[in-house]
């Protein structure tokens, strides 16, 4: 629209001021030359606004732990959890799970705490005399728990539980909900910061 305006004005001007026609023609040609490429640039931009929203940036969370629910991946495996191409992906070095956002029945986040010392080291702490092992149990860190309930191609119900570093679960939930995943509990908006 913006491109056509000067030409319309130019032609209108020629009607009212016949003597000015010769002076305006080079201006009109100049504007046409400048405006033509703009016409092609503006078309895709308009198309984008009318169609689907631009894809949001992918959320990637490394060192996520799959606690339970990975059919092909062992429980308590560490890997990368990401939201790519409207699906939730969990990838370890050996295997990958992909869940379409549209198949997610419910997605919820929670907070919990995990001990800093786990596994074989945890068993070793039992041997520490004078209750030293118990003292070490006091050291823990907060984690986010992400629970995803979804259906497979046969309609079978599945569930997966992930442990993420603190405050990493809400962005994943937010993006999945934006992509069509259902959530029984809406994501709480962060409180406004007073500066």
């Amino acid at each position: 629209m913006r491109i056509e305006d000067p030409i319309v004005k130019a032609s209108a001007a020629t009607n009212f001021f016949g003597g000015a026609r010769a002076r305006l023609r080079p201006h009109g040609l100049f504007l046409l030359a400048v405006g033509a490429p703009l016409m092609f640039f503006s078309a895709p931009a308009r198309g984008q606004a009318a169609g689907t929203a631009p894809a949001p940036p992918a959320v990637v969370q490394k060192n996520a732990r799959l606690v339970i629910g990975g059919e092909t991946i062992k429980n308590n495996s560490e890997g990368t959890l990401s939201v790519v191409d409207s699906s939730l992906q969990f990838e370890t070095g050996k295997a990958k799970i992909e869940v379409k956002a549209s198949s997610i029945l419910d997605i919820s986040t929670n907070e919990d705490s995990r001990q800093d010392i786990t596994g074989a080291a945890k068993i070793a702490t039992i041997a520490i005399p004078y209750g030293g092992g118990r003292l070490l149990s006091l050291f823990s860190h907060n984690v986010d728990v992400l629970t995803v309930e979804f259906t497979d191609a046969n309609g079978g119900y599945h569930g997966m539980v992930f442990l993420l570093t603190q405050s990493q679960a809400p962005p994943i939930k937010k993006q999945l909900v934006a992509m069509g995943a259902k959530a029984s509990v809406p994501l709480a908006e962060p409180p406004p910061t007073n500066k």
Binding site: V67, I68, G69, D106, S108, N110, D112, S113, R114, Q115, K122, R134, L135, S137, L138, S140, V145, T147, E149, T151, D152, N154, G155, G156, Y157, H158, G159, M160, V161
Partner: protein, 176 residues
């Protein structure tokens, strides 16, 4: 005198030994379930469908609900009693001829605290009690029991679902 002392010691030893044996064997004899389980009727089914847990009015975090379900699937598969273990909503389950259905309903839940448990020992235990209900294809009840899962001393709170599922798997083994 020395001979007399030796006699007393041997008598005391015999009494202590008898008491220890009684303590060990007594609870086993008194267990009502042990005799029942052997005489209980065994059912046969080639496939089972597991429904998600009904939380009822018991507040329970979603990760526990999901962990119960997934642990149940894994433990029941491990029993090897069924050719097919179907998830809830699986379309293929409809064609199974002798399908049994397992439902669980929450009775009580205590999340507990791993930190408390490991520091104090007597506090912070996690526990969950669910009603386990297994019905046959016609809807007749085969199993209707309360099962408790616990984490008393060591382990994460979510391990309570593993303990529960192991117990349900044991029920499956003695029923099918």
């Amino acid at each position: 005198m020395k001979h007399h002392t030796r006699g007393v010691v041997s008598v005391i030893f015999a009494v202590v030994l008898a008491c220890a044996l009684l303590l060990m064997v007594g609870p086993l004899l008194g267990q009502p379930g042990s005799g029942d389980s052997k005489s209980a009727q065994k059912f046969s089914a080639s496939s089972i469908q597991i429904e998600p847990m009904d939380p009822s009015d018991v507040p329970m975090p979603p990760e526990f609900r999901v962990a119960i379900y997934e642990d149940l699937i894994a433990q029941i598969r491990k029993t090897g009693k069924f050719q097919h273990v179907y998830r809830s909503g699986d379309k293929e389950a409809a064609s199974a001829p002798d399908l049994v259905t397992l439902r669980t309903t929450a009775q009580s839940f205590k999340k507990g605290s791993q930190k408390e448990r490991e520091v104090v020992s007597v506090a912070g235990s996690s526990s969950i009690i669910l009603k386990v209900h297994i019905t046959d294809h016609a809807g007749r009840p085969l199993v209707d029991r309360d099962v408790e899962g616990k984490v008393r001393f060591f382990g994460e709170n979510l391990r309570v679902t593993y303990d529960f599922s192991k117990k349900v798997a044991a029920i499956i083994r003695e029923t099918f």
